[in-house]
Symmetry: C2
Subunit: 134 residues, 2 copies
Amino acid sequence: MAAWVGLVRTERTLLDKVEARLKRGGLPPLAWYQVLNEVEAAPDSRLRQADVQERTRLAQYNVCRLVDRLQRDGLIERRQCRLDGRNNVLCITSKGRALRRSMWPIYAAAIEQHLGSRLTRAEAEQLAALLAKL
Amino acid sequence: MAAWVGLVRTERTLLDKVEARLKRGGLPPLAWYQVLNEVEAAPDSRLRQADVQERTRLAQYNVCRLVDRLQRDGLIERRQCRLDGRNNVLCITSKGRALRRSMWPIYAAAIEQHLGSRLTRAEAEQLAALLAKL
DNA sequence: AAGTTATGCATGCAATTGCATTCAATTGCG
DNA sequence: CGCAATTGAATGCAATTGCATGCATAACTT
């Protein structure tokens, strides 16, 4: 139980801090980064919307609407897949790449401050290993 | 970074599973449990609204509205504090106690299934200790 | 080939959340 | 004391999320 409560509380606390930093920097929420990052990192820089859903653990309709916003802001393009007409294939635009790149330093600094600097490398690895079991 | 990503993903995954279980059992969200639990466990079973805010890590206005809903459903009472008229003191009703009690087995079973059974006692303690450093 | 089921995405509507601000009670200070 | 600053709580409004459902395409079955 202590592990569970710690997990929930710690995650929420750190997440709030990261979001607050991004906001202070005039940047969009972390979810935007996550999507942009997944798409950019995918082979050929294109990724099905359903894959984004799986990787971010967001609900289907939330991915749909988040992509709406990203598209509206010209960060992502939706294309229909030829092989399977049901799929949306997402492509990141150059504007999207630029935004992702500009978010990274802020994001990374927040993680470093709140997590990296509080754990040794061995501890961080241990934590990652324990979390991977869940 | 692996630790951070693992933290966010694991927390979201487990939380979703817990919420899903509660919903399947026709029960309210976990946040309700957390508030009821904090209030009931507090000395004299009364707790200031501001303390709930601090303990749950919810935003001030979200606590306010969550308490609105708990109050509307007769689970919690809001009383004004004599010593400091700004404070709301929350009291749990017998209906609130009953609900908390009925949620506990579902909640506990979900934690056991998704966390308890996947870690040894030593691992869980280790995890809690690492999280406590953050 | 036609009918059934499954999958991926979108959307109307209700509920919740975030933001900015307001209000009231208390504290601190000249 | 009298007044500015602080603290705890509430709220109007916009944005986001959850839910249920709809729609189109593909896969399976016989």
